[in-house]
Every structure is written in C-alpha cells, then in structure tokens.
C-alpha cells in the first residue's frame, strides 16, 4: 500500500535538497574560479547568494519537521528525513566555506596571487565532483558508492598537505608575502573542510540506507 501523500512530501524535500546541493556546488566552483580570475564581482555575488542557501536550509528543515510531526514516519522513512536534516546542515556549512574563499579573493584585492593555485584548483575540482557524486548516492540510496567517496577524502588531505608545506616553504623564502600566502592556506583549508563535509553527507547516506551510524573516514585535520 503506497503512502501517496507522504511519498509526495518526501519527493518535494529531496528535490529541495538537490536544488540546495546544486547551489552549493556552484558556489564552490565559482569561488575557486573567482580566486583564480581575481573576479571581485563574482565573489560578491557568492557572498550575497549565501543568504539564499541559508534560507533554503531553513526551508528544508521546516519541511522535514512538519513531515515528521504530521506523518509520523518510521524506520527507513524516518532515517531518510533525519538524514536530510543533517545533509542540509552540512550543505549550508559547505556554502559558508565557499563564501570564505570569496572573501579571501576580496581581501587580496588587486594584489597578485602569491603562487600558482595548483593544488587548490585540483582540490576545488575534486571536492565539487565528490559532492555531486555524494548527492547521486543520496538520491539512489547507494551506500556502497557513499563509502567509496569517503575514501577519496584521503586524496584531498594529501593535496592539502602538499599545498600547506609548499606555502610554508614559500613563506620562509619570501617573508614579505606571508599575509597573501596565509590567504592561500585559508583557501586550501576551506576546501579541505568541504571535502570532510562531503564525507559527513556520505555517512548520512549510509545511515539512511542501512541504519548504521558510523564514522567512515576520520580526517587528519
């Protein structure tokens, strides 16, 4: 016996989560691009668009709370909504990291980048890809895919390590660039945290499917 009303509500909520995740994906990608292109206008747009992402998060939360209160979901349905609550909050925080990168671009102003983005660019591309696949795992309820994505966080950690050490070396060589190089550390740290949050989303997907709450890949940072 299908639960038409409940299933329709769940579909609405899932659609909203996907819309939110695409907003976040876009924010991360644009933040890294704007840093590379020194694009203040886009950076300002990312900062103001963050308000819409925050609003979306509260909208999803409200929908989940109403659905839990009115439909009294159980078992897989309940896990699904609880997972959505956590995922929405992770997405919102990821957008904050993207906003952080946008602010760094603004702080750099007209000054040149102290070094090529290299690892930062790759971290950006990889985290966006991880997020996209994590959301596909969510939609398809694919716990195996979610597990595999968690493992990829190690690659991001390694890239972060490489960037961090290279930037420190650069600071030693050119103390005058310390401030701008610090911005680079902040940027890579933001991306590293975004990847951690993708891992958190994957953990929620696994919980949603299997009912098991487990920490899959503990970040080194």
């Amino acid at each position: 016996m299908p639960r038409e009303q409940f299933d329709r509500k769940l579909r609405e909520i899932h659609d909203d989560v996907l819309i939110m995740s695409s907003m976040v994906e876009k924010a991360i990608q644009r933040a890294v691009d704007a840093l590379r292109n020194r694009d203040e206008r886009t950076s300002n747009a990312i900062i103001s668009d963050d308000l819409a992402i925050n609003a979306k998060r509260y909208e999803i939360e409200e929908l989940c709370i109403h659905t839990i209160a009115l439909q009294a979901p159980m078992a897989a349905d309940l896990r699904n909504l609880v997972a959505v609550l956590f995922i929405a909050s992770e997405l919102e925080r990821m957008a904050d990291h993207a906003e952080g990168i946008a602010r760094i671009t603004l702080m750099l102003g007209d000054e040149p980048l102290p070094r090529p983005l290299a690892e930062i660019s790759e971290m950006g591309t990889r985290t966006v890809d991880m997020l996209r696949r994590a959301m596909t795992a969510f939609v398809e309820r694919d716990d195996q895919a979610a597990r595999a994505i968690c493992d990829e966080d190690d690659v991001i950690d390694t890239l972060y390590d490489t960037a961090y050490h290279a930037i420190i070396q650069e600071m030693i060589r050119n103390p005058a660039d310390v401030q701008r190089l610090t911005y680079m550390i902040w940027t890579s740290h933001n991306l590293e945290r975004i990847a951690d949050r993708v891992t958190n989303i994957c953990e929620r997907v696994i919980f949603m499917v299997t009912g098991q709450l487990e920490e899959i890949n503990v970040s080194r940072y």
């Binding site: 979901p73 078992a75 009912g211």
Partner: protein, 288 residues
C-alpha cells in the same frame, strides 16, 4: 545542475533498502533477550477446530518488561495473548501444538490449575468491563474468590493506588464502577487485575476505547507497573507500542491465514532498523 531531478529512481522503498531488509533467517529476526524469562513459546501453533490461527511461534517474554504484539488485523495477536493464560480454553474446538511455558512450567500440561494460571497471569480487555458493582467490590471480588487473606480495605487501597486511581475515587468507593469515566473504568479493571497479586498482566488493546489523555495515563501507568510486573500488550497503535514497549513482536498472516511471528526484538531496533522487509513495510504504513 548535474543531477536530473525529473528522471531518477522511485522514492518508495528502493531496492537497495530492500537488500538490507528482505527476510533474514529466523534466528536473526527473533532476538534473544537478556535477563529472566517469564513466558516461553516454542513452535506454538493454535487451532480453532480445523482452522490454524497461529503457525509455529517461538519467542520469549522477559520479566518486568513490556512486550508489545503488533501486526495487521487477523494476524493472531489476540489469539497468542489469550494462549498465555489459557483464555482460549473457553472457545470450543480450540487446541495448541508446541509448548507454552510459564516460568519453566508447561501451561497446557495435564493437571494445571487454570484458575491459578489466570490469577498469576491476569488480563485487561479492550473495552473497560467493570462489574456492575461498587468500586470496592470490583477490587475485592478477585481476592475473595481466590481466598487471598488480608485486610480488604488495604488490598483495595493498594490496588487502586498502583493503578493511579486512588486519588480519583477514594471519596466514592461505594459508588458503582460503571459511574466512572472510560479511562477511570479501565484503570479500575487494571486495579482489579492487580488485586490478586499477579505476576504477568496481559492487555488486549487496553486503550482502544479511550481518548488520548486517558490513553497517555494508562501508558504512564504501564511504565510504572513494569517495575513490578511483566506486561504483554496487544495494540493496533504502533506509536503506542513504540512509546511504551521495551520489546516488540511483529506478527503477520501467512497465505494460509495462520498468524506467524515475523520479527521480535527490542523496540528501538524494530522501529528504526527492522531486519525484515515485511516489518519495514508495515511500520512505514506501506502494508496493511
């Protein structure tokens, strides 16, 4: 946007979830319990004449816990409950196969004193059914016929207090039990069951005729009673099972219409991560 929201898998119970909750082997679906066992069923089948109402039910009821029996109508919950104090003996043509043990003793062995069984394993029914007598007489009747010695007023007060009814009725003990509200009448029936100092209380949908406030009062009372008594409750209200029960048994009707036990386990697990797909479908409202 990369994910196409218009063309993606169905939001119903997806196959992947099904893979985690198909039909695992019986021993994985029937949890063992920690602590002392009060009632133990092994391969229990029940028949009304030629009709088999229960099919091979095996599980154990833990002491001083609340165990809920849930499942769709006709799945044999009430039959199973009534087997626990031989209430079905009153039905012509009723018989069982397998064993039903109470504290290690076969309840259906020859020579078992059925009156004593029902004193130790009391019952509260769906509809409050006080005797058309005074509140005192309702309570005192059981101890009197069971030859329980002691000060009647003490027994009455103790039982009414235990059923959280004393404060409501202490000034009108000589009034008819039928003059009470539905919730109070049900608590009177619980007090009546407690008066004969039972070990187990069986409750057959005890709140189905009560309003939500009276229901919550009975549920609170059940939690208190579980400190001293073993309680088994049949309920159609899954939220009630989730709220009050420590353990839950989910039953279903087989194709031959006999009821079978699908899953038994602690309530937390059964309502959040059931092991069997059929339990999942039932508690998420997609079956029944």
């Amino acid at each position: 946007m990369v994910i196409d929201v218009t063309n993606r898998p169905d939001h119903g119970l997806a196959d992947r979830i099904a893979a985690h909750a198909e039909t695992p082997p019986l021993h994985e679906r029937i949890a063992d319990i920690a602590g002392p066992v009060v009632i133990e069923m092994d391969g229990l089948s029940a028949y009304y004449g030629g009709f088999r109402a229960l099919h091979d039910v095996s599980f154990r009821i833990p002491e001083r816990k609340i165990t809920a029996l849930i499942g769709p109508s006709g799945c044999g919950k009430s039959t199973l409950l009534r087997c626990m104090n031989r209430m079905n003996d009153l039905v012509h043509g009723f018989r069982i196969d397998g064993s039903m043990r109470y504290r290690g003793q076969d309840l259906y062995a020859k020579g078992v004193d059925v009156v004593e069984v029902r004193r130790r394993i009391g019952m509260v029914f769906q509809k409050p059914n006080p005797f058309p007598k005074s509140i005192i007489d309702n309570i005192a009747f059981g101890p009197r016929v069971n030859g329980i010695k002691g000060n009647t007023m003490e027994i009455v007060e103790r039982s009414l207090r235990a059923a959280a009814l004393w404060d409501d009725v202490k000034d009108k003990l000589h009034q008819s039990g039928l003059a009470l509200s539905g919730g109070q009448q049900q608590r009177l029936c619980i007090a009546r069951a407690l008066a004969v100092q039972p070990d187990v209380i069986l409750m057959d949908e005890p709140c189905s005729a009560l309003d939500p406030i009276a229901t919550l009062k009975i549920e609170d009372l059940m939690r208190e009673l579980a400190e001293q008594y073993t309680i088994v409750i049949v309920t159609h209200n899954m939220q009630q099972a989730a709220r009050v029960a420590d353990y839950t048994a989910f039953m279903m009707m087989r194709p031959d219409r006999a009821g079978e036990l699908v899953e038994f386990g602690d309530t937390d697990t059964l309502f959040t991560t059931p092991r069997d797909r059929r339990t999942e479908d039932y508690i998420t409202g997609r079956f029944g």
